[in-house]
């Protein structure tokens, strides 16, 4: 059937025969292999494969259905974000790093901003409201990120309803992001010194509606999956990695917590005021893909608890500042949403264009030149949906970062792919990779 298919050809190399398989043409491979005695096949899964969570290339050496060796090929989504940030001002850097791990943009922004704030020495001056808004957005983001993980993970094993309801709830979360930040993804909303804009009118009501909706619908995942025999058969005892393995390989996040150890930076090294919120760190003791699923599911409920506490606090914070008081750092514009999107508010434009020469100079200097950050380096890590999201920032005292490096948890966690997959079956590779939840935008940066 494939003799005439130009995309599914066969060629001979020094390593052996190479088949290009495009789907539904395994017959050609089987008949081709029949001529050769060995059962060993090296399969390149990806980088364009629907089950590898983006452009991840898995190189699997198979003996029949068993995986004898597995390796990752990454870098297909490398965009040089770290290098690009060295050529933009400190504030503009947020616009770049928010695009790394596109499923948890607020964590990228927050890690970077907290590191810049440590270099500036203004960690204690961040207004309370900005911190509460950061926590609110990060926890909403944890929910939307876990939803994608569970949804796509479900889709890959054929649980399509989990996918459709997962994306339904995620839409609700992204609607909130759009209302608060103006964008569904790539927000660049958390800025050094605070956040870009105050909560818009009516946002708290929408958050309350969202909490009610989620409380009603989050249960469905447990009802669909927790005791589902097919779901359990696919996930239990698959992708096993115990605590010692996690420590050696630098694995963090739900994978560690699925081994029974409650490692969570929000508790052990709190930032943004996490020590003042009431929440638990869920764990599971099976060290497998099913455990990671249960941890994520439970974490969404905990995040919802934090979101509720944030909403209560924000109710009492009406009119409080969301940007640091230091005028040499805080963005001068009062942003507002107009007919053509978000921009400087008309009041601010009237002030700088018609009333105050000094205000205009200040606006111009801060927007074009930016601020200088005292020389030195800082490393800030926070608990992203995938684990330890670290940001190492070096400043030489200039208006641009000298070097920014992100320790993305997806990158570190993906190193565990071989140990989780080798010795298992091909179908389990999909489950194991999905349970690690790597986001290639973050892996490759």
């Amino acid at each position: 059937m494939t003799a005439t298919d130009p995309y599914a050809t066969t060629r001979d190399t020094t390593e052996g025969k190479v088949f290009t398989v495009t789907g539904q043409d395994w017959d050609s491979v089987v008949s081709g292999l029949g001529e050769e005695p060995e059962e060993r096949v090296v399969v390149n899964m990806g980088p364009q494969h629907p089950s590898t969570h983006g452009v991840l290339r898995l190189i699997l050496e198979l003996d029949g259905e068993n995986v004898t060796e597995a390796r990752c090929g990454i870098g297909y989504l490398h965009t040089g974000i770290e290098k690009n940030m060295e050529f933009r001002s400190w504030t503009q850097g947020v616009t770049f790093c928010t695009r790394m791990d596109y499923l948890s943009p607020f964590y990228n922004e927050a890690a970077y901003c907290l590191a810049v704030e440590r270099l500036l020495g203004i960690e204690d001056q961040i207004p309370d409201k900005a911190n509460v808004m950061r926590v609110l957005l990060m926890e909403l983001n944890r929910i939307s990120s876990h939803l994608v993980c569970i949804a796509t993970g479900g889709m890959e094993i054929g649980a399509l309803t989990v996918m459709t309801i997962g994306f339904r709830e995620r839409e609700k979360t992204l609607d909130l992001f759009e209302l608060i930040t103006g964008l569904r993804m790539n927000h660049a909303f958390i800025r050094p010194g605070g956040v870009a804009q105050d909560l818009p009118a009516g946002a708290l009501d929408k958050i309350r509606e969202y909490i009610t909706w989620m409380n009603k619908h989050l249960k469905e995942y447990a009802e669909l999956c927790n005791a589902n025999p097919i779901f359990k058969a696919r996930l239990q005892n698959v992708g096993y990695l115990d605590l010692a393995g996690c420590m050696a390989l630098g694995i963090s996040g739900p994978t560690v917590r699925s081994t029974g150890y409650a490692l969570d930076l929000r508790k052990s090294q709190p930032y943004c005021g996490y020590e003042t919120y009431d929440f638990d760190v869920p764990t599971w003791d099976s060290s497998d893909a099913y455990g990671r699923f249960r941890v994520r599911l439970q974490e969404m409920h905990e995040s919802l608890k934090i979101v509720e506490q944030c909403a209560d606090r924000l109710e009492k914070m009406d009119g409080q500042p969301v940007m640091v008081a230091d005028k040499k750092i805080g963005w001068p514009a009062q942003l507002a949403v107009g007919a053509d999107g978000m921009g400087n508010s008309l009041d601010h434009i009237k002030h700088i264009m018609g009333e105050s020469m000094e205000a205009l100079i200040h606006h111009f200097k801060l927007v074009t030149e930016g601020f200088r950050v005292p020389a030195g380096q800082a490393y800030v890590a926070l608990e992203s949906p995938r684990g330890e999201m670290g940001c190492h920032v070096v400043s030489d005292g200039g208006t641009k970062p000298y070097r920014v490096h992100f320790r993305d948890p997806s990158f570190a966690n993906l190193q565990a792919m071989p140990i989780m997959c080798e010795g298992g079956q091909v179908a389990d590779v999909i489950v194991a990779v999905a349970s690690l939840d790597p986001v290639m935008g973050g892996v490759d940066r």
Binding site: K83, N84, A248, Q377
Partner: protein
Amino acid sequence: MSDTQPENLPATSAASDAQTPQAEVIDQREGMFGVRGTGDTSGFGGLRRQVALPGSTPKPYGSWFDGAVDRLEGLVADGAIEKVVVDRGELTLHIKRENLVEVCKHLRDDEALRFEFCSGVSGVHYPNETGSELHAVYHFLSITHNRRIRLEVSAPDSDPHIPSIVSVYPANDWHERETWDFFGIVFDGHPALTRIQMPDDWPGHPQRKDYPLGGIDVEYKGAVIPPPDTRRSYN
């Protein structure tokens, strides 16, 4: 404006505690707007400012730092720790590259140190720091004691070799490959030091300072805007 006083800094940012380390000059910044030669009509072209990073901190360091540093000093060879920098509440140990693996072993295994978790390594390129242009910066987390520590190891551009710590912290495998890929630091003893982000046949190491960012001119409404690294900007 004097050379030692950083200008246009937020008033609150000057690290005012008595612990302020002696600054270490690494570079000289010239001009203001990134323009060289006759193109500069601003009069700021002659401006010269020193770029200085926080230098060595004298004892006592404060907090848990003293105990940990003393403990480590007692375990490793003399002179392995070149410099201790305490800045912004973070502890940085500058380690001689020959002693890196030994230091890491003690950091991981010693009861009083116990840094179980390696958050990876990243490179920093200081082209004007002759003799130690390439820096590898490691971050560790001690879950037992809830502490973080940073190790900094440097190598000259002419001999960019640093021992690999994958044998001690397997977690560092991909991180070292990434740093090799982007900075050209050769981690001796790494099991398979190949490029990880860039294509295998890529020439050069993209995150070095002498590697251009690249980009093309963009025309917008008749005006041509050069790529960011050749654009006029503040420096």
